[in-house]
Amino acid sequence: MLENYFPVLLFILVGLAVGVLPMVMGWVLAPSRPDSEKLSPYECGFEAFEDARMKFDVRYYLVAILFILFDLEIAFLFPWAVVLEEIGTFGFVAMVLFLAILVVGFVYEWMKGALDWE
């Protein structure tokens, strides 16, 4: 089975080379005359105003977590779709039940307003 994935391995190696080689060449070949002004961080020509880290709305986490949950739900659909003809009605009903349980959560979050962006 692994022989199917040999092209993927080659692709990873070529991709790494394409990504890394220009950086190494730039690092080796380019003239480098750093000074403190060049190396200091700046934003649009100003001095940096503040630290990049700040507190932000917890709502972003909520969207990300809900995305992960439905992402997992989709992941369960793939093997099911591959073998649907062999597992027949039983497998179909099993997946319908699975989706129905998650639809309860979906309806809950919709009704609760978790999908609204105020």
Binding site: L2, V58, I68, D71, F90, I101, L102, A114
Partner: protein, 208 residues
């Protein structure tokens, strides 16, 4: 040495280095990025074990979703790194003891010789791991499969209950209302008698 063994050792070395960076990096963003590399390499190792569906799911779900959330949190959180690293050396002996015990236990349990296992023969090229997984998961393991749905549901409800807050006095627009608006809701035509503008006498006098 066989080619797959060589690939296995390369990936294992990358995985170990990445995991080491996760716990030693001072910058939490670097640690999270190392964790991405560790997950990806673990996915490659699973692929070497011929578990293709799990490997791809690891990349899709963990790197594509979970690590994005991690990075998101770590980049934005206001973390005092010095504060977190305090007590590292005091706790090191206990932590090391726990780690070593855990390692010994896992080696005892998971050593293949304990189960009389021999390495499985490589599968033919048309073997589909996803198909085998599907045949097992939706028939023999249908009960744990439904339990997984319930766990996801609980996670969903918990996430909403923990993070959803209504702020009073907020101002917002309803796009549906905006779309439904008609001209008559916004514009009022008033009919009134025409007005004759006053002649600009003052300007003419100034020019003259």
């Amino acid at each position: 040495m066989e080619f797959t063994s060589l690939v296995f050792y390369i990936f294992s070395a990358i995985l170990l280095l990445a995991s080491l960076r996760v716990i030693t990096a001072k910058n939490p963003v670097h640690a999270a990025l190392s964790l991405v590399l560790a997950f990806f390499t673990a996915g490659c190792l699973w692929m070497l074990l011929e578990a293709e569906f799990l490997a791809i799911t690891l990349v899709l779900v963990y790197i594509g979703a979970v690590m994005v959330l991690f990075l998101f949190v770590v980049m934005m959180l206001d973390i005092n790194i010095e504060e977190m690293r305090r007590g590292f050396w005091e706790n090191l002996p206990l932590a090391a003891l726990v780690a070593i015990l855990m390692m010994v236990e896992m080696a005892t349990v998971l050593g293949g010789s304990r189960f009389g296992l021999t390495p499985p023969a490589p599968k033919p090229a048309d073997y589909s791991n996803t198909r085998e997984l599907g045949l097992q998961l939706y028939t023999d393991y249908v009960y744990p499969f439904e339990l997984a749905a319930v766990i996801l549901l609980v996670a969903m409800v918990a996430a909403i209950a923990l993070t959803l807050r209504r702020r009073p006095g907020r101002k917002w627009v309803d796009p549906a209302e905006q779309i439904k608006v008609k001209r008559n809701d916004r514009l009022r035509l008033v009919s009134m008698a025409p007005q004759k503008p006053a002649a600009p006498k003052a300007a003419e006098e100034e020019e003259a």
